[in-house]
Symmetry: D2
Subunit: 292 residues, 4 copies
Amino acid sequence: MKPKVGFMGLGIMGAPMAANILKAGYPLTIYNRTLAKAEPLAKLGAKVAASPKALAQDSQIIIAMVTGPEALYELLFGPEGAAAAFGPEQVFINMSSVSPSFTLELGKELAPTAIRFVDAPVSGTKKPAEDAQLVILAGGNQKRVEELEPLFLTMGKKVIYCGKTGQGSMMKMFINLLLGLMMEGFAESVNFGRLGGLNLETMLEVVSSGAMNAPMFQVKATNIRNKTYPASFPLKHLAKDAKFVLDTAYELGAPVPAGQMLLHLYRLGVAQGWGDEDISAVMKVMEHLSGK
Amino acid sequence: MKPKVGFMGLGIMGAPMAANILKAGYPLTIYNRTLAKAEPLAKLGAKVAASPKALAQDSQIIIAMVTGPEALYELLFGPEGAAAAFGPEQVFINMSSVSPSFTLELGKELAPTAIRFVDAPVSGTKKPAEDAQLVILAGGNQKRVEELEPLFLTMGKKVIYCGKTGQGSMMKMFINLLLGLMMEGFAESVNFGRLGGLNLETMLEVVSSGAMNAPMFQVKATNIRNKTYPASFPLKHLAKDAKFVLDTAYELGAPVPAGQMLLHLYRLGVAQGWGDEDISAVMKVMEHLSGK
Amino acid sequence: MKPKVGFMGLGIMGAPMAANILKAGYPLTIYNRTLAKAEPLAKLGAKVAASPKALAQDSQIIIAMVTGPEALYELLFGPEGAAAAFGPEQVFINMSSVSPSFTLELGKELAPTAIRFVDAPVSGTKKPAEDAQLVILAGGNQKRVEELEPLFLTMGKKVIYCGKTGQGSMMKMFINLLLGLMMEGFAESVNFGRLGGLNLETMLEVVSSGAMNAPMFQVKATNIRNKTYPASFPLKHLAKDAKFVLDTAYELGAPVPAGQMLLHLYRLGVAQGWGDEDISAVMKVMEHLSGK
Amino acid sequence: MKPKVGFMGLGIMGAPMAANILKAGYPLTIYNRTLAKAEPLAKLGAKVAASPKALAQDSQIIIAMVTGPEALYELLFGPEGAAAAFGPEQVFINMSSVSPSFTLELGKELAPTAIRFVDAPVSGTKKPAEDAQLVILAGGNQKRVEELEPLFLTMGKKVIYCGKTGQGSMMKMFINLLLGLMMEGFAESVNFGRLGGLNLETMLEVVSSGAMNAPMFQVKATNIRNKTYPASFPLKHLAKDAKFVLDTAYELGAPVPAGQMLLHLYRLGVAQGWGDEDISAVMKVMEHLSGK
């Protein structure tokens, strides 16, 4: 019999992830600060909890997928927080993007509850979340991660074990740094080509014919072509993750010169009011800087 | 009957390109400043010219593939330069990487000879050059480019027409900017992950499982794994191309914040004496900056 | 009669500051984690406390001058911490460099003790500290700051009131950002001139003849001339302060593109093992990057 | 008897410099592309030449003070250019800002005329030019520079001999790099302080009380206070000079990480249409990036 799962956080990523767990036949309890977002899943059979604590009391595996450390902290340790109902028989999986050091600290703060803790952020954005094609980046006890694999595979296509607690978050920082740099690099290059008189479609043909051809370029080019940037991964979230990357790099003594530039540029986008648009709206930042 | 081709510049790229023309049955005359590099091709049946001018006198189509504007200028207008033998019945194809403004200027300087001029740099490095898998980025008269397609396809898999004279060079700047940014971004991210305790192979698995997966990453990872960087595309050449990109961006008023960072970092590599290693040796720059 | 002062932290800055308080006739109790540093002052008549708590019990005004938030936190809230002995009749002055948000948080954590809290970091390095020529950047209750002016003026030449609690720290961030940028700018320019064949003394003459002439340049040029960088302000401390600046800038939404570059460059110096040398050792970073 | 001087280029800098030569009693012939700018000086007794060539025919010492290499080239070698009338009895002084390599090339191109060539750009902006308080940065034959000192001192307060031909221009690059970095650093810091709630006047008081106090800050603060940026040194000219600095740094292998950032930021100002405002309008760039 499948374990009872509690899922907290029903945003762009969380909603389809929870839906995929439910479709796979797991008994599911959900919680979201804004209740309206829980309704579609409730109609599909999910039970709606009145508080994080109530959700935790009702679940064997508790998952959190929220926008960052503050939101996560609130869910766990705020009023009617989930941690108050955590115990040694349960598993808590944090799938939200946070820094490795935050993950380690969280592990310490959860230790008194004796809950088993796994950090498992994901690689992938809205579409892979909907299609259960995410890649799960898991850190913590390896045997426990293996036991959770069937559950993870309702949401994703693959589980990659990254190491002890915190290494899942570290891998997420790594992949988001690369993602951010590639997105910015693509926008900077395409804007440069545009000002030099090149045609977007011809540039894309050259990219797709060579060793730089990454799937994301063709996807993001659609937004650039249409001059509309519906959020698959909101710009403001990447700006936030970039800050975590820089903080982590500072602790590690890792040079991240382009990463620093990245934060600067994505924040420009947020300052212009484009934070809720897709990360590919960094193209608008480049155009804005061009003044033409 | 196939036209007589003259090929000047037999470096990492030029040598295999010329060999592929020869294999395809074109009568081939070659010239290289250092004669030794001409020998392997001479053994295969190429005729060796004593000077660029002698080569031009002997060829209907003249190709140049050298390391930059200075070398190209010397070949064309130096002592016994090729341009002295150029005439209206011939075609001159520059496949070297130069800036669009240099290409336009070159076109003007060649105008008195009445030679037909095509700018056609390539996307691809050593291996694609050897395998005749380059992508030809052609600028100039479109009908003429089409007529040259059979010749181009002895060296590459595809010809992409980019626009009038100079647009081939512009496209090359575009794709090299993207290449440079992706290479640096990959090295910066992998070094960050390394210092955070991640395993190289696990990082590669994550990259190859997601939307950032570009062929170049797996290829360049081999160098990083082996800690040896044999030049497929020498670091110093990318540093030089980055300077052309910045000069072009300045003329266009195009913001290239990450591109500027790029030049800074690749030049650090050159300053450390790694200019003749592959562009992936930017990984050594990142390690060097880390001090560990 | 002068109030009893307790001074915690006897480093490069703290030792001369405490000495100046003592010379001005204030009864002084001192505490330092490493006891040896307290001896010179003890010989001059200062009383050495066995713990921060003991110091606090013995003082009406308690001053802390340590290297950052962790050290400060330890002094106040660690074992035998000073805060345990704080009460409404006392004043606590933090003169250490910390971020404004840390200062605000600290204010909240001290609130239960009812101690009166003033944040008062300083502008100036070792020499001004010795000569009682510091500039005190005070934040908090304005009347209280005025009452403390005689005490501040034993250490400095001027008190500048910056606003409510946290604004002293904000002003310190501002001036350290400017200091860091000017120091880096000077080193980058002088290294550029050096590589271009210019003489150091001639460059200094040009600087001193124009509108860019700041006193720090002539002082720091001495280190560059002698190729030895005794710490007046250690490089690693500026790197740390630069991180606080970036964190603060992130919270404020303030663009600090050069500030980010700064952190990158100063951290390179720390990575090379020059963290205990003066901030002017950023000149060594520039030379190192040059490879010559 | 004073030698006959010809002065070409009557912009923000050239007009007051020429006026000071005239006031000192030198017979003066002037030329400017836009004739209107010559009128005020003509009223004071200057002779207006119809072309650069006519000016050269009429002068023993010819001075050029224009906005860059293109304008200078045009004056010397364009139609009715000055160089056509140059001979061994004359001296040509270039006071315009150009790169050292351009200066060296110019020297070669002038060699056939046998004219004696001195490169002598200046440190200082509009006000020092009006007050004859410029600093002359001279390169070339040292004895010749000494002979010209009386003439230089009609325009400036000091002549600094920098070395052989090209070193005057190199010193100008050096000082403009420092100027650009300090101006940007000041704007970045003040904008950061502003967003953190600090008062402009309090920030200025802190700056003026410490080792960072450079005369330019108080002058440029006036523009920031008034939110109006009348050009003492136009932003677009500094952007141009920054490009010369980067080109020179590239040739020298000199790392200029902050200099690259600088060019990026000043060009943003030009892209926004602020190129004719003062360099202190980089403050507007910072505010613009802040989005508030």
